[in-house]
């Protein structure tokens, strides 16, 4: 079974600075998909960025980028120019290429990010 581990329960960053959130996963599959979701205090789950395992190029979405290291099974999220609105819980998630439980996501425990003004 696949597992996702986020080893940093909490992180803090100064506004306008850069922060990196870590995520590792365990799988025997060669193809899969990885996601970062943001959960602000409103509880709404918001997709931040996604990565296909068969793509070597790291995904980028504006201030958000990932460092995908397939051999190391690592998928970290970098937030540049941090803003107060980035403060939230961040979840790393895995989806099997072959559908698994029909497309569900497997989540890590999350990292709570605080942004200091």
């Amino acid at each position: 079974a696949q597992t996702v581990t986020q080893s940093q329960p909490e992180m803090s960053v100064q506004e306008a600075e850069t922060v990196t959130l870590s995520c590792t996963y365990d799988t025997s599959e060669s193809d899969y998909y990885l996601f970062w979701y943001k959960q602000p205090p409103s509880r709404q789950m918001i997709l931040v960025i996604r990565q296909e395992a068969y793509k070597q190029q790291n995904a980028t979405e504006n201030r958000f980028s990932v460092n995908f290291q397939k051999a190391a099974k690592s998928f970290s999220l970098k937030i540049s120019d941090s803003q107060l609105g980035d403060a939230a819980m961040y979840f790393c998630a895995y989806r099997s290429y072959y559908g698994g439980s029909q497309g569900n996501l497997i989540f890590g425990k999350g990292t709570k990010l605080s942004v200091k003004p």
Binding site: M45, Q51, R95, S101, G103, L105
Partner: protein, 114 residues
Amino acid sequence: NAGVTQTPKFRILKIGQSMTLQCTQDMNHNYMYWYRQDPGMGLKLIYYSVGAGITDKGEVPNGYNVSRSTTEDFPLRLELAAPSQTSVYFCASNPWDRGNNEQFFGPGTRLTVL
């Protein structure tokens, strides 16, 4: 387009009571899911459905039941509520079971069992 909607937003139950959490999506997605999020934990899959009339258990199904009579609706039933079911419940949907397609989430229901 409302996306995924859930009702109620909050609920307090007494031990042994029953209730149904409602979930509706207007995106015509075949795949729907129920997750629970316990404090300090990620989301865990309770049940899922691949289309109307088809449901199956996820990782933590005990104490819950689901039905899927239409594409839009996927209610979650709690029978004989227990304190261990105190959690935040999320309903989600996506258009396909594979690929990098986004999974859309409802706003969640915070349930407390006393």
